[in-house]
Amino acid sequence: MPKTLFDKVWARHIVTPETATHPAVFYIDLHLIHEVTSPQAFTALKERSLTVRRPDRTLATIDHSTPTKINSDGSRPYVTAQAERQVQTLLGNTRAHGIETHGWESENRGIVHVMGPELGATQPGMSIVCGDSHTSTHGAFGAIAFGIGTTQVGHVLATQTILMRKPKTMAIHVNGELGAGITPKDVILHIIAEIGVGGGTGYALEYRGNVFEDMSMDGRMTVCNMSIEAGARCGMIAPDEVTFNYIKGRKFAPKDYAAACEDWRSLRTDNGAVFDKEVRIKAEDIKPMVTYGTHPGMGIAIDNFIPKAGTKADQAALDYMRLSSGAAIAGTRADKVFIGSCTNSRLDDLRAAAALLKGQTVTIETIIVPGSALIKAQAEAEGLDAIFTAAGAQWREAGCSMCLGMNGDIGTPGDLVVSTSNRNFMGRQGPGVRTVLASPETAAASAITGVITDPRKIGEAA
């Protein structure tokens, strides 16, 4: 019977099949951990006198609570003593259990979903989990990758497995030709606006069509990253030559590379395989997208008007955002710009922002945070940092930063932040802060003008 990519990868990881009474015991190839969702799991292990079964299949970093500035004396300004303690706890736990950890001294330290692929640890056909919902990012390589809670982090540490029932599958086809200046972020925001924030609940997504085939790995990661914003725990893209070229030569790349690629090629969805649901989107319909509400499904094209609130919840969202139905979203005054997060902090993203900011001056506070120490170094080698600082933007140390503000990088109440991150929830970037999700291009264009701006207009004016 023809199989989907998801079916094939799923089948490779079944230790014990699911039955009417029991979920499957599902094997995990790669477990990524960070400081926020692991401490209680290590405590659970200790309480039961358990050890880490496969430290060699576990990789750790610090990203959420880490400061993105350095004091003049070289010390790091943690937002609270508790944040620093959380980082120390992670480092202590991983040292005690012999887990490879990318701490302050590592050139690969960074957002966990940026680090895994950069190390070549993320590979096609794998099962990957992390105590973080944006683990879906790794699906860009043709892996089954999804977020888990801390109890399951404990299960994976102790047994390298979790209990799980097989989700349904959904194919999202995007075919056709994307307009000039349309980015992967616009594609995924369009998809979420189309299927809704709960549209993917219970499904594993596969993104199919020439639009994804033509994307770089950075772009594919942006797309898969936001699968969870449609409610889907994982989203995948079939591995191809783009994938293989990306992994080649990285630290964890397989030794016999030709054989690995041969195997990975067999993972593609077979012709005639059946999905539980299929959605078709025309690439020509996608425009630069921004959100206007308080969940990622409330997105519209940047040249569109804010829709009527259909429900009380929609009206509450508009009230929080201080936006009115019928008004144009472009031209709305912004207070800050944040370019970063596991959605858009990779080299492609920074290059795109730099292309717009070159020779320009930002008129509002603009914070640019690379996804990892490696990306920071690569961007600096290309001179991107010089472009950013010359434009008046801040160039910071790698981390999650203002995506969730755990490290103290937050806005002031009432601020409207044009942000390349993935969640525009109420208060996510600080109490009362209003988040507008956008691509790096739209964020950079808005930084220049101080209002929400279609990046395609910047070239015109100049």
Binding site: V25, G154, G405
Partner: protein, 193 residues
């Protein structure tokens, strides 16, 4: 790690009307730097319960009646967003044993089941009735998988994964079961390298 077994809960409901209540709202990020679980009930829905200077608001969650509720009823698509287990830890520490909505996000649902919090997805009409009648006493019976509404409101079936149901009713966590799979896991690892 284990919790109190859950079979029948009869309690007044606490109702949060809003749809799409995400886990950032259930447990704001600033409380995620805790390295233990204790005391998270104080911070659950912090943005609703505390004013800008930390003063208590007059939200039902702060009332004695609210604190006595073991059943939370929330608008459509509850628990979306971040995978933080701090959300169900906060809810159970506050005193909830059941959360009911017309849709509940996957990761939150999975996390809840592992912490003795029963997530129930119920059909629209019963959900609407609950939203319209905050504070009514209802019964959740896990033995029969039924929600019973008062005043002849009738009873509604809900479904729970059979293994999770077994664990909830016995107060068991899944770790014991997985540790029992050791031989199968070892054999799998030998086959797959």
């Amino acid at each position: 790690m284990s919790f109190k077994p859950l079979t029948i809960i009869t309690s007044k409901t606490l109702v949060l009307q809003a749809a799409n209540i995400d886990t950032d709202q259930i447990m704001p990020a600033k409380f995620l730097s805790m390295t233990t679980k204790a005391g998270l009930g104080e911070h659950v829905f912090a943005n609703l319960r505390y004013g800008p200077d930390g003063e208590l608001t007059d939200h039902t969650l702060n009332s004695e009646a609210g604190k006595a509720c073991e059943i939370l009823v929330a608008g459509h698509n509850f628990g979306c967003g971040s995978s933080r287990e701090h959300a169900p830890w906060g809810l159970t520490d506050y005193g909830f044993r059941v959360v009911i909505s017309s849709e509940i996000a996957d990761i939150f649902r999975s996390n809840s089941l592992k912490n003795g919090l029963l997530p129930i997805v119920i059909e629209k009409s019963a959900h609407q009735w609950l939203l319209d009648h905050p504070g009514e006493e209802v019964t959740v019976d896990l033995k029969t998988c039924e929600l019973r509404l008062p005043k002849n409101g009738g009873s509604y079936k809900f479904s729970v994964d059979s293994f999770s149901r077994h664990c909830l009713m016995e107060g068991l966590d899944e770790m014991g079961y997985l540790l029992g799979q050791d031989a199968a896991i070892t054999e799998f690892e030998a086959r797959h390298g």
